[in-house]
Amino acid sequence: MSTLPNETLVEMQRRMLRIRRFDERASKMVKRGQIPGTVHTSIGQEAQVVGATMALGDDDYMSGNHRSHGHPIGKGSPLGPLMAELVGKATGVCGGKGGSLHLADFNVGSLGESGIVGSSIPIATGAALSSKVLDNGRVALAFFGDGAANQGCLYESMNMAGVWDLPVIYLCENNQYALSTPAHTVTSGVIAERAAGFGMPGVRVEDGQDVLKVYEAVSAAVENARSGGGPTLVEVITYRYNEHSEGLRLGTDYRDALERESWVGRDPILSFRKHLVDSGVATEDEMDQLEIDVLAEVEEAFEFSQESPFPEPEVAFLDLYTDNPIGAHA
């Protein structure tokens, strides 16, 4: 990976920091009642997200899940409209109709996050079918968790992608818990090894806290897909620091406190900063400045979300159909 230009490496750190600071802010906003409902943060999983999204090209497609903010941020979506969407404002990336769970930014190839576990996997598969039929060289990537790895639609999708050689990457973000349920207690065998049953490569990135390892694995899969080699299943082992969703109080210790501490000790952002400085890509001062810049970006996004107006009531009836904005039965 030493061939990557310095600005790409710094951009990786910038996007990981954006996700961390954005989600820290969102978490606070939930607790202060500034965001209705809840959010699911990607704090701790930034390397896994950014390693994957930066391996994609600007025109490539992506679909995601309830742990939803990191994906569009990692793909380059501006923070203001994302934050405004979390608050339910008219300037939100979905005009206030999606919310945290349903972020989408088609400008960066983000075809939408899904509140239904696994449900967006066929969407990415279909985007890859478009690329194949239209022969436009685009690749699609489906993010899903270890929980969704046990949904049938994943295997229907993998089978179709396999027989049709679709340019799609199935990226399992294995953070080891489906809410409170340890993945190994509900998952038979190794997720990455399931690829073999569909005649496609299955790759397991054991250190999903290392952004370069994730980037390397996903880049290889993207290159293979783009050159007509078909789909790949990539499983990345990672860990979320926070609770399944912000504000959730389960009253049960399904995770060992020491386990969390050991993962926090291998923090993807701190580790990568050290790597960048040690390898001479950036100085400590430059890294400090990057932190300051990203914090300012998040602050600006917050201000934007607060200053923006809420949508007008009639917006509830828009965008149901392309030719009948009020909806058929209104």
Partner: protein, 344 residues
């Protein structure tokens, strides 16, 4: 004009759409082999070739039996530049893909604030009345009427099937088309040239002044049959087919009942929360003052469909039941003697 069967008209519309726009593809189970006769010429015109030969494997694709995956992939493809027509074969197979229909196909444009358009058509056949048993006999369009974001069409004649399907492929919104197998063999003169029937425009099959019969899908020919027989009894029956249930031509229905003052709705789907219930409620809300008699629904009762033909056929709206309902709302006694209907 040329004589086409219902299935032939669907095939003609699909061929037109495939020829007109390279972004149109057909995917589904057994579409390559033209098993249902809608992805190629009929057996008697085999020399004209199948779609697979005409359009190639890139645009005509057999799918695995994976309805959830097929429907979701079609949605994803529609969101990224294709205009898929998905052949789902039997309507009851749609249930396998309910999550994709309800959570992705119907919601994505709305949830994402209009960023997505979803130009995809899902075709399925309703095999009721043919002893196919409970798993293959469903008429499930009312379930989907309850999902905002979907458009639903139920063509009842070959010419409507051709024009509505063509308009459905043109639509930038998802359209589900429900095709009653009882109509498959029906034939009529159909325009071979391209034409489109806009969604949301009802068709008046027969004008009348005593009662409006709103008939849906396979109930349409039965309603026409009933109306013709009742004319001999001196009753003037208007037969109106909404043709599309979402959007629904509310104005045409209300205007017809405002003229006739009576409404019978004939709908092969189940009774509770069905299309007939919606149309009845619409008229009760919008044309109550015009009503001279209570509204009567002729539907399939809320039971599952049995296999044995001895007990299945009685369940669906037919001309006799529709005629009986018309007499009831017109306060006309059942004829003592044999009529054209009872003799058939």
């Amino acid at each position: 004009m040329t004589v086409m069967s219902y299935l032939g008209a669907i095939g003609a519309a699909q061929r037109e759409a495939m020829e007109a726009d390279e972004r149109v593809i057909i995917i589904g189970e057994d579409v390559e082999a033209n098993v249902y006769g809608t992805t190629g010429a009929g057996k008697s015109r085999k020399d004209k070739g199948d779609f697979l030969e005409m359009f190639g494997k890139n645009r005509i694709r057999n799918t695995p039996i994976s309805e959830e995956g097929i429907v979701g992939a079609a949605a994803g493809a529609a969101m990224t530049g294709l205009r898929p027509i998905v052949d789902l074969s039997y309507s009851s197979f749609l249930y396998m893909a309910m999550d994709q229909f309800v959570n992705q196909v119907a919601k994505n444009r709305y949830m994402f604030g209009g960023q997505a358009s979803m130009p995809v058509v899902f075709r399925s056949a309703m095999f009721y009345g043919l002893s196919t048993g409970a798993h293959h006999s469903d008429r499930p369009y009312p379930m989907f009427m309850n999902v905002p974001g979907l458009k639903i069409i139920t063509p009842a004649t070959p010419s409507d099937a051709k024009g509505l399907l063509r308009a459905a492929v043109d639509s930038d919104d998802p359209v589900l088309t429900f095709e009653a197998c009882t109509l498959w063999g029906s034939k009529e003169e159909v325009d071979e040239a391209e034409y489109r029937i806009p969604l949301g425009v009802a068709r008046t099959h027969r004008e009348g002044s005593d009662v409006t019969v709103v008939a849906i899908s396979g109930a349409v020919p039965e309603a026409i049959k009933a109306a013709n027989a009742l004319a001999e009894e001196g009753l003037s029956v208007e037969v109106l087919d909404p043709r599309t249930l979402v959007p629904l031509d509310r104005e045409a229905i209300v205007a017809s009942v405002a003229r006739t003052g009576r409404l019978v709705v004939a709908d092969p789907a189940h009774r509770t929360c069905g299309a007939a219930a919606e149309i009845s409620a619409l008229v009760a809300e919008e044309a109550f003052g015009s009503l001279r008699a209570p509204i009567v629904r002729v539907t399939t009762p809320d039971t599952q469909i049995p296999f044995s033909p001895a007990i299945e056929k009685q369940l669906y709206p037919d001309a006799m039941k529709i005629a009986a309902a018309v007499r009831r709302v017109c306060d006309v006694p059942e004829p003592a003697q044999e009529t054209a209907l009872s003799a058939r």
